[in-house]
């Protein structure tokens, strides 16, 4: 393999990994904070992409994309926040909450999917990328949209890390995640903090949707793949630390990019699953540990 080819595969793997990280981080933060797997997370990505498409296509060009990048996450934040009260809050004292929330979030996923179909129809759409052409770096040329995607993805992840670590609200979210009883005992508004968590997760999903929608076509069932990829990343990497699923996402992205090049698009998923099963056989708690539930 030539060095140039290797570099291109590396870059496409990193761009892909960044997107997977952005999708998975919402799933992981909700899991570590509330202790449920949100199976509607994929449809959050899809709904975010459709709202962004609606906004960007009516305005057009880079300003349209920019406005979509603002409105889609805000809308999804509100939807996610409200959905906490419908999907999770009613069952919070039930010992079977993990299983019950699988059902309620799956139900929400199928309802959102039908709504998308109802509002936007079954035809495929694509969000117009705000930048076009290539960037020349040291004699190599990279797609400008790929670079933008990568930079924004990293920025959002860093922003989220900063928010959780340094802001007062983030601190309260970590506290409620770590010791719900103590948080309640001390009079924190835990329900609000949990709803915020889902809202923020949904907003990051929307940004992922915006970028995926600008490099691929979107259709109403478009959320299935992001959900699958996020689950793989979270189980593969574990959630011992905020960065665990992020690192795992980049590994998954790179594996995918290389196996597409070496074995073709057709075999890439099988290779990914094969490697994942091997990792989980050796380290059932995930690559970076699953047990310690912290953010």
């Amino acid at each position: 393999m030539e060095l140039e080819t290797l570099l291109y595969i590396l870059v496409s793997g990193l761009v892909l990994g960044g997107l997977y990280a952005l999708m998975a981080i919402g799933l992981s933060v909700v899991w570590t904070t509330i202790g449920v797997f949100n199976f509607a997370h994929g449809t959050f990505v899809a709904l975010g992409a459709y709202i962004a498409w609606q906004v960007s296509s009516s305005l057009g060009g880079a300003p349209g994309f920019l406005l979509g990048a603002v409105i889609a996450p805000i809308s999804l934040f509100i939807i996610g926040y409200a959905l906490h009260y419908a999907l999770i809050k009613p069952f919070e004292r039930n010992p079977n909450i993990v299983l019950l929330s699988v059902i309620t979030t799956l139900a929400a996923a199928s309802i959102i999917e039908s709504l998308i179909q109802l509002i936007w129809g079954p035809r495929e759409k694509q969000i117009e990328a705000p930048v076009s052409g290539n960037l020349e770096v040291a004699g190599l040329s990279f797609s400008a949209q790929d670079i933008l995607t990568f930079v924004v993805t990293l920025f959002i992840l860093a922003l989220l890390a900063w928010f959780l670590k340094r802001s007062g609200t983030g601190r309260a979210m970590r506290a409620a995640a770590q010791n719900r009883e103590a948080a309640q005992l001390m009079g924190f508004n835990v329900t609000h903090l949990y709803a915020l968590t889902i809202g923020i997760a949904a907003a990051t999903a929307a940004i992922a949707g915006l970028f995926i929608g600008s490099i691929r076509f979107i259709n109403p069932t478009f959320g299935v793949d992001p959900l699958m990829k996020s689950l793989i990343v979270v189980i593969f990497g574990g959630v011992a630390h905020f960065t665990s699923p992020i690192l795992a996402a980049f590994i998954v992205g790179l594996i995918e990019a290389f196996s597409v090049y070496l074995f073709g698009l057709y075999w890439a998923p099988s290779i990914l699953f094969g490697l994942m099963i091997i990792v989980l056989l050796i380290k059932p708690e995930g690559l970076f540990g699953f047990q310690r539930k912290t953010l």
Binding site: G168, A172, F188, N189, R292
Partner: protein
């Protein structure tokens, strides 16, 4: 002494169990009121009812400095300076000590940012909680320092009335002495203190007066030395003499 904190007919039932029943007493400004009673006599519940954390009373009235406060929200009570600690270690183990103090200050009194950090620093100085522990996870601290952290957290919320729920339980003698000194230091700063404690020497050592509870009711209130000689109190703790 003036009635700084006045409790009137406070009550709370859990089903058929009267955890606190028709409780009335007053605490003077700057006073230390000790509270004793057998296990399950309703001491911690009394603190819950006064602070509304985590739940309010079924009946009764509470006055602070002449103003009725039992209808206020628990955050409003915190802002007024009615602050409590918890009997169980109510800490966030994976969060750093400073985050533990900050999150309580931010969530309960609504103070944020630099001001919250200033309060946390000031409280650590007052209590004597070592600042080189600030960036360690709370779970990594020995129990004694976890207790210090809980008191520091309470002090950072600017208490005028501080309710301490067994701050010295499971500590050794030298550590209990530290708790005694800390209580006296806080009291000298003008903080009115209600102290629940099973360690009688600590309780009688610092308290101006002693309140004894049994089955949710007040059975004695007065000078500590007299109260512990009261036959009714002795019976409550030791059972009826044969």
């Amino acid at each position: 002494m003036s009635d700084f904190l006045k409790i009137q007919g406070l009550g709370k039932s859990f089903g058929a169990l009267r955890a606190v029943h028709d409780m009335s007493f007053s605490v003077g400004k700057g006073e230390i009121l000790g509270i004793a009673g057998p296990n399950g006599s309703g001491k911690s519940t009394l603190f819950n009812l006064i602070t509304k954390i985590p739940f309010p009373a079924d009946s009764g009235q509470i006055f602070l400095d002449g103003k009725r406060i039992d209808r206020l929200s628990n955050t409003a009570l915190t802002k007024l300076g009615v602050i409590r600690t918890f009997q169980r270690e109510a800490l966030f183990g994976s969060l750093s000590c400073i985050d533990n103090i900050l999150v309580a200050v931010e969530q309960t009194s609504g103070v944020r940012g630099r001001e919250a950090e200033r309060l946390a620093d000031e409280a650590s100085d007052i209590v004597g909680f070592p600042k080189n522990f600030h960036n360690m996870p709370a779970a990594a601290l020995p129990v004694f320092y976890q207790k210090q952290l809980m008191i520091t957290t309470a002090v950072a919320q600017n208490p005028r009335v501080l309710l301490l729920d067994e701050p010295a339980s499971s500590l050794i003698d030298s550590e209990i002495d530290w708790v005694r000194d800390a209580i006296m230091t806080l009291n000298k700063r003008g903080i009115t203190i209600l102290l629940i404690e099973h360690i009688l020497s600590l309780l009688t050592g610092v308290s101006d007066r002693l309140l004894v509870m049994e089955q949710g009711q007040k059975i004695a209130l007065g000078d500590a030395a007299e109260v512990i000689r009261d036959p009714v109190v002795i019976e409550a703790f030791l059972g009826k003499p044969q």
